[in-house]
């Protein structure tokens, strides 16, 4: 598990997860809804999906992978500037949550489930957040 899973395996497996949830439960796979249910203390099917998602990540971590920070963020802000990471992550999380709810889904809800059925709103939402992420990445790269 130390090797990164090949894209031609990882991508299709995630695709199968979306289809499996539809087959088994007639539900749309969406991480935002799962988080919204968890925050509202609703223990729905999506809540169990979220628990499974976290457990899957933990299993991978226990299988030998190590968490060594937040990449560029923890590499850039070190020493006395390290505190900056906390508000950046908190603000980023809040913006992601707000934006995903506003768009009716996040990368999984719109990007996977919505785009699979060529939903126009999902295509626009995915294009918007991918496009914005690309532009912001280049801006940060140029500034810092």
């Amino acid at each position: 598990m130390n090797e990164q899973l090949a894209w031609y395996i990882g991508g299709p497996v995630l695709g199968l997860c979306v289809v499996a949830l539809r087959w088994l439960l007639n539900e749309r796979l969406g991480a935002t809804r799962a988080w919204a249910d968890a925050v509202a203390l609703r223990f729905s099917v999506h809540g169990w999906l979220l628990i499974g998602l976290i457990v899957g990540g933990v299993v991978f971590g226990l299988a030998g992978s190590s968490v060594d920070g937040y990449g560029w963020l923890t590499d850039t802000f070190t020493g006395s500037a390290q505190w900056v990471i906390v508000p950046i992550l908190a603000l980023s999380g809040a913006l992601i949550g707000y934006g995903a709810r506003l768009a009716g889904g996040c990368t999984s809800g719109n990007g996977l489930s919505g785009n699979a059925v060529l939903s126009p709103s999902s295509l626009v939402a995915t294009g918007t957040f991918f496009g914005t992420a690309i532009v912001v990445s280049f801006v940060i790269e140029a500034l810092i």
Binding site: L16, V19, G56, G71, G111, L112, G114, S122
Partner: protein, 62 residues
Amino acid sequence: MKRFAAFGVGAVFGLTLSWSAMTNPDVLRDGLLFRDAYLMLFFAGLVLSLRYFSRRSAVAPG
């Protein structure tokens, strides 16, 4: 039974995301800066497989 199924799908989803390094900020950043094709290829493979499996099952996800 529904809870078990949702938990199982979530676990496979989480494990695959982690194993694919989609939880690694550097991998995402390199993809968004077009330094590495993995992120784009991953999504392309995902969407294509999703379309294929959806047609095979005659059940549209989403």
